[in-house]
C-alpha cells in the first residue's frame, strides 16, 4: 500500500469572539449558562457550515483535488449536497468525486481516514455552525468554524497508524424532532468517553507499533472540557492537547474540531515528531502522523486562534446564534424567492465568482453577451476569470441602516478589483470604524439571501477587510 500523507491543512474562523464568563453573567439570574472560561467564535449572520468549510478549503485547493468531502453535522440543506455547492464555490471541475459526511462529530476524521486509506488527491473540509439553545452549556461551549486538509500520496505528514471504533455512546444527540442538542450528564459523559477515546488511541498506537510516550503532540477532540486529563493519565501522555486550546480559545467546532486542532499540533511539530489526531462522536477515530517537515498552512491555521474581535453584546450574540427572533418590521418581509432555473443558468458563475475578460482585456462581472467595455460594440464570448481570489479597493461605501439585514448595518459599495473588474457588492466582517473609500478588501464566500418563508438560502461573495485584527488581550 502506498504511503498516504496530509500535504496541506487550513482553518477558518469567523470574526467575532464572545467571552464565556461575560456571556454567563448575562444569565446569572437564571443560574444557567455554564461555568467554562475562555471564548467562543461566533459566526456572522451570513456564515454557515458551508461558507466556512469553503473558506478553509480554499486554502488547500489551489489545484483541484480528485475528491472533495464536506463534513458537518450542521449543514443547512438536508437535501442538496454541500459538497456539490462547494465544487462551484471553489471553482473546481464538476467531474471530481464529491461526498457529504454527516451524522456525528466524527464525520471529519472519518472522511480523513477514508482518504488516507484510499488513493488520489482528496480535500476533506469540515465546517460547523451548530445551533444550541441559550442557557444550555453547549451554547457557550460550541464554536463556529471550519478546517480542511489535503490528503495524497505525498506530503509532510505521513500516516503511520490508525484505528476507528464505532460506539453508540449518546453524550448528546439531535434529531429532526429535537434539532438542538440534548445533553446527558457530564460526569457520565467524561468517564465513558475517556474510555472510548483511550481504546481507539491504544489501537492506533498498536497499529503503528508505537508507545504513547513517542507522541510529541496530540489533537484529540473532547466531548466536554476536562475530558482529556483522564485520557492522558490512562495512556501516560504528557504533552498538552491542542484540541483543549482550540476549545478554550474558540470553542468546540464539532466535525472541524480535530482538524483545526491537528493544524495547531502540526504548527508546533518538529521534523520526526509523531502527532496524534482523534475525532470523537458515536465512537472515535485515531490517526498517528509522522511529520517530516513543515505542513503547509498549519502555522497560519494556528495563528487564527489569536485573531478576532470581541463581541460584547449578549443580545446580539443571541440573535447571531438563532436564539432571539426580533420583530424586524415590514422591510424584512421582502420576497426573496429563488428560482432553480435561474440558479442553474447563473449559479456556477455566482457561486464561483467568475466574471469574464473581453477581447481587449477588460474584466467584468457578471459576464454578458455585449461586453461593458465601451470600446467594443458587438457581442463576443468572454474568457472566464475568477474574482474570488482577487483583492480590490473600495470606490464607494455606506452603512445602510434602512435596509433590512439580520445584523445591521447593511454595508455595501463599489469595489474596484486589481485586475480591472468592478462590482457593486455587500461588505462583511465590518471593522469598528466601518468601510471607507480606498480600503483594501478581499473576497469571502457568504450567504447572500435567506428566504425564511421557504427555508432556502443563496450564496455569493462579499468584500471583507484584507486582514483580521488580533484579538485584544487574546
Amino acid at each position: 500500500m502506498p504511503e498516504r500523507c496530509v500535504s496541506a491543512i487550513a482553518g477558518y474562523l469567523p470574526l467575532l469572539r464572545i467571552d464565556r464568563k461575560a456571556a454567563s453573567a448575562a444569565l446569572r439570574w437564571s443560574g444557567l449558562g455554564g461555568g467554562v472560561g475562555g471564548r467562543r467564535a461566533v459566526a456572522g449572520w451570513d456564515e454557515d457550515a458551508l461558507t466556512m468549510a469553503v473558506e478553509a478549503a480554499r486554502e488547500v485547493a489551489p489545484l483541484s483535488p480528485d475528491r472533495l468531502i464536506l463534513a458537518s453535522t450542521s449543514g443547512y440543506f438536508t437535501e442538496r449536497s454541500q459538497a456539490a455547492m462547494a465544487v462551484d464555490a471553489l471553482a473546481l471541475p464538476r467531474s471530481i468525486r464529491t461526498g457529504d459526511a454527516a451524522g456525528s462529530r466524527r464525520a471529519g476524521t472519518s472522511a480523513m481516514l477514508t482518504a488516507l486509506e484510499g488513493r488520489e488527491e482528496w480535500v476533506v473540509a469540515a465546517g460547523e455552525k451548530r445551533f444550541a439553545k441559550a442557557g444550555s452549556a453547549q451554547h457557550l461551549l460550541f464554536g463556529d468554524g471550519a478546517a480542511a486538509v489535503r490528503i495524497g500520496d505525498e506530503g509532510a505528514a505521513r500516516l503511520v497508524g490508525s484505528a476507528s471504533l464505532a460506539h453508540d455512546l449518546v453524550d448528546i444527540y439531535a434529531t429532526r424532532d429535537h434539532p438542538e442538542p440534548y445533553a446527558f450528564e457530564e460526569r457520565f459523559v467524561r468517564d465513558t468517553a475517556a474510555e472510548v477515546i483511550s481504546a481507539a488511541i491504544r489501537s492506533a498506537l498498536s497499529a503503528a507499533g508505537l508507545t504513547a510516550a513517542a507522541l510529541k503532540a496530540v489533537a484529540v477532540a473532547e466531548p466536554l472540557p476536562n475530558t482529556w486529563p483522564a485520557i492522558a493519565r490512562a495512556l501516560g501522555i504528557t504533552v498538552p492537547n491542542a484540541a483543549t486550546l482550540v476549545l478554550e480559545r474558540v470553542g468546540d467546532l464539532g466535525a472541524a474540531q480535530p482538524l483545526l486542532a491537528l493544524a495547531v499540533a502540526f504548527a508546533y511539530a518538529q521534523p520526526g515528531d509523531l502527532v496524534l489526531c482523534a475525532g470523537f462522536g458515536s465512537g472515535c477515530d485515531a490517526m498517528i502522523f509522522e511529520v517530516a517537515g513543515e505542513v503547509p498552512g498549519a502555522r497560519a491555521a494556528a495563528a487564527l486562534l489569536g485573531d478576532g474581535v470581541a463581541l460584547t453584546d449578549y443580545s446580539r450574540f443571541l440573535s447571531l446564534t438563532g436564539n432571539l427572533d426580533l420583530a424586524w418590521g415590514m422591510r424584512s418581509e421582502f420576497e426573496q424567492k429563488t428560482q432553480a432555473s435561474v440558479l442553474e443558468r447563473g449559479g456556477r458563475d455566482v457561486h464561483g465568482f467568475i466574471g469574464g475578460r473581453d477581447s481587449l482585456g477588460n474584466v467584468q462581472f457578471p459576464k454578458t453577451a455585449m461586453p461593458v467595455n465601451p470600446a467594443l460594440s458587438g457581442s463576443e464570448a468572454l474568457q472566464d476569470v475568477r474574482l474570488a481570489d482577487s483583492t480590490g479597493r473600495v470606490i464607494s461605501a455606506t452603512a445602510d441602516r434602512l435596509n433590512f439585514t439580520p445584523d445591521p448595518p447593511f454595508d455595501f459599495g463599489l469595489v474596484q478589483f486589481d485586475n480591472g473588474a468592478r462590482v457593486m457588492m455587500e461588505f462583511t466582517d465590518r471593522p469598528a470604524s466601518g468601510f471607507a473609500v480606498g480600503d483594501r478588501v478581499r473576497m469571502r464566500f457568504r450567504i447572500k439571501g435567506q428566504d425564511t418563508r421557504r427555508g432556502f438560502r443563496t450564496y455569493f461573495w462579499k468584500a471583507a477587510p484584507v486582514d483580521r485584527p488580533a484579538l485584544e488581550n487574546g
Binding site: Q364, P366, V372, I395, F410
Partner: protein, 399 residues
Amino acid sequence: MMASGIRDKVAILGMGCTAFGEHWSRGADDLMVEAFEEAIVDAGIGREDIGAAWVGNALDDINVGNSALPLAHALRLQTIPVTRVENMCATGTEALRAASYAVAAGAVDIALALGVEKLKDTGYGGLPLKTKGLFNDLWMPYGSAPGTFAQLAGAYAARHGIDAGDLKRAMAHVSWKSHQNGALNAKAHLRKPVDMDKILGAPMIADPLGLFDCCGVSDGAACAIVTTPEIAASLGRQDPVLVKAIQLSASNGWELGFGEWDGSYVRNTRVAAARAYAEAGVSDPRREIALTEVHDCFSVTELVTMEDLGLSDEGRAPFDILDGRFDRGGAQPCQIDGGLKCFGHPVGASGLRMAYEVYTQLLGRAGDRQRDGVRLGLTHNLGGAPFNSVAAVSILGRG
C-alpha cells in the same frame, strides 16, 4: 448629423398638481382626477380634445395598477391611445417627453402627460422593496435608496479632498433651504422650517445621510397638457410656456462594471444637461437659467447635481451652497417650491411636479415665492442610483 430637437415645437397649455403628502383618505384615481381637472381648466379645453395620453407610475403596481388603464379609467378617457411609461424616479419627465414627442411629431394635436404615485399604503417609510430581477438578486446588494446615494458623499469627499464635516454642513444647508421653501408652499408635504442643529444631529439613515438628508415619499399626482405653439395661439395663448429641451441619458452598466468612474458624480446628469443646453440654445446656464428644480432625493444628490448641471465648478458646490447661491433669495434658486425634500416625492409624479413649478414661475403665478424675470427654468429628474441611473433634464421657457 444633429437632430433638430423639439425646441419651441411644443407648448404647455395647462398644468395641474395635487398637494403632495399622506393622502390617507384618497386613492390614486382621486389624485389623478384632481391634477387633471386643474390642468384641463388651465388649458381651457375639453377632455375630448386630448388625442393621446401617457401616464407615469414608477413603483407600486399593486396600488395604481399596471398598464395605462388606471388613467383611462380614472379620467374615463374615451378610447384614445393611452400608454404607461416607467423609468424609475425619472418617470414623470418621461411621460412629459412622450407627450411632447407626439405633439412635435404631429401625431396628435393635444396630448396629456400625467404622473401619479400612491406610496403611503406600503406600510412603512421609504420606497417599496422590489426585486432587481431573479438573476441580479443572486448577487446584487439589496441596498436602500439612501444607501445607494449616500455613497456619493464619501466618493465626492475623497475626490475633492473635502473634509467630511464640511461636506455634511453643506448637505445640511441643502435640506435647511428646502425646508425654508416648503414652509411657504401650500401644496408641500413638509411645511415646517428645521434648524441646522436638528438636521446635523438627526439619526443616521445611511452614513453619512441623516434623516433630514433624505426626502420622504408621498402620495400625489401632477399633469401637463401639451400642444403646438400654433394651436396654443389659436386658443389665445400668444406667449405660452414652451418646451425648450427634454433630454435623457441612461446607464448601460459602465459605472458599475467598467473601471473608470470614481463614484463622485452622476455621468448621466452631465450628458443629459449638455444635450439639453444644446437643444435649448443655452450657452451659459449659470446666467441664463433663472431657477432649477432638481432631483434632491438626498441632500448630497442636489449638491453633486449643481456641479453635474454646470451650475457650480467641480469641487465648489459645497461652498456655493453655503454661500446661499441656491437659496430662495440667491442668484440661482434651487427647489424654490421645497423640492423632493419638502414638496414631496410621489415618484412617478415628481418630474411633472418640477415642471409645474417652473411653469408656474414662468407665468408669474407663484405668489409669495415668485421670482422676477423668469424666462428659462430647468428641471432635473434622476432615476435609479448614482451608479445605475436615468437622468432627465428639461428646460422650459417663454419667448
